[in-house]
């Protein structure tokens, strides 16, 4: 996929240069709105007064080709207070030929096509932010044709944008699409801290996901650990955990922070296919049909033996380098990941996970990275974590006790049974030989007393 088309800017930007002066000159001669109407706000320029004379009045709207209606109303007060108020309407709407405005025919296919084209206008001033957005999950979804993925104006109302507003808990634009996650966030320590003190630097959405280069935290942390999301504020966390948590660094690599810091969350193990450099394998490298063919028909997902065969196939199919599975314990849903609790409530009982049958290891997915950067997960049977096949197929993920291999338990039982049986059987045989008169001590080195008493044996 290429970058977002800039065909819109090809029309808009030249028009800005061509018509800017004309628009300003004509607008300056118009005084359609009394200046007193904006007494409480910064006074609009004469040109903007001309625009707002019509567009500041309720009822301005336009029928679009797809039958939808585009609101053309720009409430004057919010606009004049916004960071764009001082720029003037023509700074963005340079394509408007005021001499022919409104045009007799100006077909706009849809709101979506219009707002997508207008991203190029934003880009003219906010090139850095636009470039960041191009690398985001949002842009990837737009390129993939997702009609709900946001462009600039879906998050920032261009006619009312206030600097810093998006960082206010109650005004974050993310909640418009991610309402469930936002609700979960409101119950978190982060939101409580933020709402409880003006001086709090607890994060809103952009604090962890960044404002424009928006990526899922879990994806951005592949191979890097969660430090990008959490350690930016929580410096020294590893050292504090090392004071009480054995193998703390390994826990940090293999377990997401919410897996312990959201105590009531349901957990799952995500086994990600990575290459020898720790980079996630993409679906285009692996091939989705291979996974579909491996998934069992009983609806429980890929079983241990199928996964082992799959890994064998992947490492013979000519894909550059070795492919291995790296496991990570995480919460099962996005909203759960945002319900971070006070640290005093975080899980610290090792037995929660380090026991057979722990809930943490009952749900397993095997994931790749899709073309849009998002994970593509395939369900797997929980036995992939404790089958003898896992020694080869899931080498990089192991939780003592929780994912122990059952065949080793049988071996241990056999070892104990065998060791005790040898002793008991030996004593019993010694007793039997004596009982039936088959024991005849010969002259020699101290005779053992299998089945006998503790008295020294006399030399014959």
């Amino acid at each position: 996929m290429g970058p977002i088309s800039d065909s819109g800017s090809a029309k808009i930007l030249p028009a800005l240069l061509k018509n800017g002066f004309a628009v300003a000159a004509i607008a300056a001669s118009l005084t359609l709105l009394p200046v007193g109407a904006f007494a409480a706000e910064p006074a609009p320029s004469a040109a903007d007064q001309a625009c707002l004379g019509c567009h500041g009045v309720a009822g301005m709207e336009k029928k679009l080709t797809d039958g939808d209606t585009l609101q053309l109303l720009v409430p004057p007060a919010p606009y004049l207070k916004s960071v764009h108020g001082a720029n003037g309407c023509t700074s963005c709407h340079a394509d408007v030929d005021i001499a022919k405005h409104p045009p007799e025919k100006n077909d706009i296919a849809s709101k979506r096509s219009f707002s997508t084209a207008m991203t190029q206008v934003c880009r003219a001033c906010h090139a850095d932010k636009f470039d960041q957005w191009q690398n985001s999950i949002h842009a990837a979804l737009v390129r993939a044709g997702n009609p709900a993925a946001p462009v600039c104006t879906d998050c920032h109302n261009p006619h009312a944008v206030i600097k810093g507003a998006a960082a206010e808990v109650d005004q974050v634009p993310c909640k418009n699409c991610h309402a469930d996650i936002y609700t979960a966030y409101l119950g978190s320590m982060h939101a409580k801290s933020r709402l409880g003190s003006k001086d709090s630097y607890a994060p809103v959405c952009s604090g962890c996901h960044t404002a424009h280069d928006v990526k899922p935290v879990a994806t951005s942390a592949i191979g890097l650990g969660p430090e990008q999301a959490c350690f930016g504020c929580h410096a020294g966390t590893l050292e504090k955990h090392q004071e009480w948590l054995p193998n703390a660094a390994l826990h940090f690599e293999a377990i997401s922070c919410p897996a312990c810091h959201v105590p009531n969350a349901r957990r799952k193990v995500d086994l990600m296919l990575i290459d020898s450099k720790g980079k996630a394998r993409g679906t285009e490298q692996i091939g989705v049909p291979l996974f579909d063919a491996s998934a069992s028909s009983d609806g429980k997902g890929i079983d241990a033996q199928s996964l082992w065969r799959l890994m064998q196939t992947l490492n013979k199919s000519g894909i550059a380098g070795e492919t291995v599975l790296r496991g990570r314990l995480d919460v099962t849903t996005g909203p759960q990941a945002h319900q971070l609790a006070d640290k005093s409530k975080a899980l610290s009982d090792c037995a929660t996970c380090h026991r057979k049958g722990s809930q943490a290891f009952q749900s397993v997915t095997i994931s790749l990275v899709g073309p849009d950067g998002r994970r593509v997960g395939y369900g797997a049977n929980a036995d992939v974590l404790n089958s003898p096949f896992s020694v080869d197929s899931v080498r990089g993920f192991y939780a003592i006790g929780g994912t122990r291999i059952w065949i080793l338990d049988i071996l241990l039982a056999l070892a104990i049974f065998g060791g005790v049986s040898i002793a008991v059987g030996h004593v019993f045989l010694g007793w039997m030989f004596k009982r039936f008169g088959l024991y005849h001590p010969h002259n020699g080195h101290g005779h053992p007393s299998a089945g006998g008493d503790d008295a020294p044996k006399p030399a014959a």
């Binding site: 390994l250 690599e253 291995v324 006790g401 024991y439 080195h445």
Partner: protein
């Protein structure tokens, strides 16, 4: 006749090792079988396992240093004759499996420099020169997986390392049970245990029949 066949460094090593093995097995079982065994917490068991593990490593070094600097090392390879060694091992195994019940004499009589019978010699060399060092190595890797990540990855990952560690643990559990029982097969039930405490073993004056 009493022979001084267990010098004091060997006895200190042996009983430290014995206590350490028991603690390692018990704490290892607690670590692996939380829910089935709940004597102490998982974390306490891990700390005990780690601490005793390092004590055993130091103890192993003591044992190695003693034998490398002592002529007693001949106990482990008194005679490099494989054919004779295997025949001796077979005789010893036959004795334990059958002859002992009939009252046959033990085919092996210890001396100061040859205190292990052929079976013991073989088993102890496998344990002390192969299994124990591998157990120490895998244990250290598991003690801090991230610190030794390169080596863990080289050998195939943490699950591979742990599986090797557990397999040797299982072998040691079996060994300890059999070892303790065989320890009761001296001329009295407690003779070998007393010998390992005093250093002196009672042996027959006469040369055993070959």
């Amino acid at each position: 006749m009493r022979l001084y066949i267990h010098p004091i460094p060997v006895r200190i090593w042996h009983w430290t090792n014995a206590l350490g093995f028991v603690l390692m097995i018990l704490s290892g079982m607690q670590i692996r079988y939380v829910g089935l065994i709940d004597v102490v917490s998982f974390r306490t068991a891990v700390h005990v396992h780690n601490f005793v593990g390092f004590v055993l490593i130091a103890n192993f070094c003591l044992w190695l240093a003693f034998y490398l600097t002592s002529d007693r090392i001949r106990a482990y390879h008194s005679e490099l004759n494989l054919k004779k060694h295997f025949i001796g091992s077979f005789r010893q195994a036959y004795y334990y499996a059958f002859g002992i019940f009939r009252g046959d004499p033990n085919p092996f009589t210890p001396t100061v420099y040859r205190k292990f019978n052929p079976l013991q010699s073989m088993i102890y060399q496998i344990i002390m020169m192969l299994l124990f060092p591998v157990q120490i190595y895998t244990g250290i890797l598991l003690w801090d997986v991230k610190r030794f990540a390169a080596q863990v990855d080289f050998f195939g990952g943490v699950r591979v390392i742990d599986t090797v560690h557990v397999l040797i643990f299982i072998a040691f559990v079996f060994y300890i049970l059999v070892h303790v029982y065989l320890g009761t097969l001296g001329h009295t039930r407690t003779a070998h245990f007393k010998a390992m405490m005093t250093g002196y073993e009672d042996v027959e004056d006469e040369t055993p029949a070959e």
